[in-house]
């Protein structure tokens, strides 16, 4: 998963001193549950400060002033331990390049999609996502006992134009009715959908046939990409 936030939209103050003036970046590794818990508890805070500190180890210190009835605010501090990633390993943490997709399509409303996937999860561990360049998408599961398909139409396809037409897989030359598909672990898809609380401004899905599903969500101040590798069809 790759997520980018525009700092100006989230922070009133933002100061950073990176590794060096040329590499004004810092790369940190952190346990998401710690960070998530810390941020959750300060949801109602008047103000939250995030600082990189050195305590017993490098930490992201999240300090917040909580609203109280008393004259003195209630201060809570969470020191979340982090690992600083050395510069020589930064290349491992770059934005993944967008794969050459076969089909790119806008997703249906995420809530609808989540409802469908939630129900399908009870029936099968794997789900096939297929889509075409004429705005059709199907979510399919198939077991020995049952097969279920949910059809979406008129979803629309993002106008990538020449951006994606690199290897002759140009969207224009492709038959718009041909489906590209990928079989994925349904839990991955469900986990991803579960985490989306707000409908993004744009949500799309790029499919590399039998290889990978690339989900892209664009919000006003944040972008999120999620790559789910395809599972080999058994039998």
């Amino acid at each position: 998963m790759w997520c980018e936030l525009s700092q100006a939209n989230f922070f009133d103050e933002y100061q950073i001193e990176g590794v060096s003036p040329e590499d004004n970046e810092i790369c940190l590794e952190v346990a998401p549950e710690n960070l998530s818990r810390a941020l959750k508890t300060v949801q109602n805070a008047k103000a939250v400060k995030v600082k990189l500190t050195k305590k017993h180890c490098p930490c992201l210190t999240i300090a917040a002033e909580l609203p109280t009835l008393s004259s003195i605010g209630r201060i809570v501090t969470h020191d979340v331990p982090v690992d600083v990633i050395p510069r020589r390993l930064w290349h491992e943490f770059k934005e993944p390049s967008m794969p050459d997709f076969d089909v790119s399509i806008f997703l249906p409303h995420l809530k609808t999609m989540k409802n469908v996937v939630d129900r399908m999860k009870n029936l099968s561990n794997f789900l096939v996502i297929e889509a075409s360049q004429n705005g059709q998408m199907n979510l399919k599961i198939e077991t020995d006992l049952v097969s279920v398909t949910t059809h979406f139409k008129d979803l629309g396809n993002p106008p990538w134009g020449d951006v994606a037409s690199q290897e002759g897989r140009a969207s224009q030359s492709r038959n718009p009715d041909t489906m590209a598909e990928a079989r994925v672990d349904i839990r991955r898809l469900q986990q991803f959908l579960m985490g989306q609380q707000v409908q993004p401004s744009k949500a799309m899905c790029n499919i590399v046939h039998h290889k990978v599903v690339h989900l892209i969500l664009l919000h006003e101040d944040m972008s999120l990409q999620y790559f789910i590798p395809a599972v080999v069809q058994s039998g």
Partner: protein, 394 residues
């Protein structure tokens, strides 16, 4: 009529409160100790390591009928899950149960709960029990130097910042602040997440500090009390002294009193002075301060478990701690082996075998205090007066 046990009736909303008390006791231990007393029905629980104890005393006035035998004091214990099953659905209790009739039959070793519900429906639960030894903790909250009282909401909101799995929390106080921090054993978890919350004294209804100190205890065991207090709207009072002495949290109203007594981590005596000094200048919110230089040893909860079977009197003869047979690793750290009543004495506690032994040993059981301090059902204001210093007038 020779009463073989106990016969009492709880009516209306008191049934639900009783049920909630039992549920909160179940967060401490697996067994419920029941003892009908002259001053009320005592329900108690203790955890397996004897580091946490809770007692709810329901005064006779809590019941619409409270009949106990005049002699032959009786104590029993039973699986708490069985009792919880009687009061399973709290929400429906309120709506359907009109009264609860509790009868203890010594001859048949049976405790019968009969729920009288709407539409003439009777639900009867027969629970078997075992005779039990006395289970009373040694503590005297009136003698504690540090006394705090706050609405339960304050503590619930504070505890919310710590993960529910968190074992130990350190509470530090100075003249006008109280800090809560999760306690982390440096040797085992050098990369743990640290959380600190600071409360100002004016958030409390009462904030009285005699000694700036820092105590560490198990947070998990408290949650039962917090749930109870919040649902009943009662404020929570907190009493403690120096590290090593138990911390007492209680809720009181005119007809019931709940006390949760938890062991606290004990300092090494040589560390004590420096800890005290440090506690007097607690770290301010700016994160530059490093407070993780505690060198506290294993927890010690002194539990005097010299059980006195038979009639419990106000002052059973016990040499509190000398007879305590604890598990060996725990015993090695057992501060209370010093059986003097003066809790200031401390053994060599710094040596432990193997990894830091963080067991809270049993503590404070044994010699029963005069009933007034333990079992008083007077409203808290009275207790406040008792606890005040000699210099202060009531």
């Amino acid at each position: 009529m020779y009463l073989q046990g106990m016969d009492c009736i709880v009516t209306g909303g008191n049934v639900k409160v009783l049920a909630k008390a039992i549920h909160s006791l179940s967060r401490i231990g697996d067994e419920l100790y029941v003892e009908p007393q002259d001053d009320g029905l005592a329900l108690r629980s203790v955890n397996s390591s004897r580091s946490a104890y809770a007692c709810f005393l329901f005064a006779p006035l809590y019941f619409s009928r409270y009949t106990i035998p005049s002699e032959n004091v009786f104590r029993c214990r039973m699986a708490i899950k069985s009792v919880q099953a009687v009061f399973r659905s709290l929400a429906s209790l309120e709506k359907t149960v009109e009264k609860c009739h509790i009868v203890l039959d010594k001859k048949k070793n049976r405790l019968t709960f009969t729920l009288h519900c709407k539409h003439g429906l009777l639900k009867t639960h027969n629970l078997s029990f075992q005779d039990s030894e006395s289970l009373q903790a040694v503590f005297d909250k009136d003698s504690c130097g540090n006394v705090f009282k706050a609405k339960s909401r304050l503590l619930v909101d504070t505890v919310m910042h710590f993960p529910s799995s968190l074992d130990e929390v350190t509470v530090s106080v100075n003249a006008d602040r109280m800090w809560f921090r999760n306690h982390v054993d440096e040797e085992t978890e050098s990369k743990a997440m640290l959380t600190e919350l600071c409360l100002a004294s004016d958030e409390f209804d009462e904030f009285s500090v005699q000694d700036h100190s820092s105590i560490t205890f198990c947070l998990k065991e408290l949650r039962g009390l917090l749930v109870f207090a919040e649902s009943t709207g009662l404020p929570i009072s907190m009493y403690f002294d120096e590290p090593g002495s138990p911390v007492v949290l209680s809720v009181t109203d005119s007809v019931l009193e709940g006390n949760f007594v938890l062991a606290t981590l004990s300092d090494d005596p040589s560390q004590r002075k420096s800890n005290t000094k440090r506690a007097q200048t607690p770290p301010p919110p700016p994160p530059d301060d490093d407070f993780m230089n505690d060198d506290m040893d294993s927890y010690l909860i002194a539990m005097d478990t010299s059980m006195a079977p038979g009639p419990s009197t106000a002052a059973p003869a016990t040499t509190p701690l000398a007879e305590y047979t604890s598990k060996p690793p725990v015993a090695a750290n057992h501060r209370t082996r010093i059986h003097s009543d003066d809790e200031q004495e401390e053994d060599e506690t710094s040596e432990t075998d193997g990894p830091p032994n963080k067991k809270f040993c049993s503590l404070f059981f044994g010699s029963v205090l005069p009933s007034s301090s333990l079992m008083s059902t007077q409203p808290l204001t009275n207790q406040e007066v008792l606890a005040s210093d000699s210099e202060e007038d009531s």
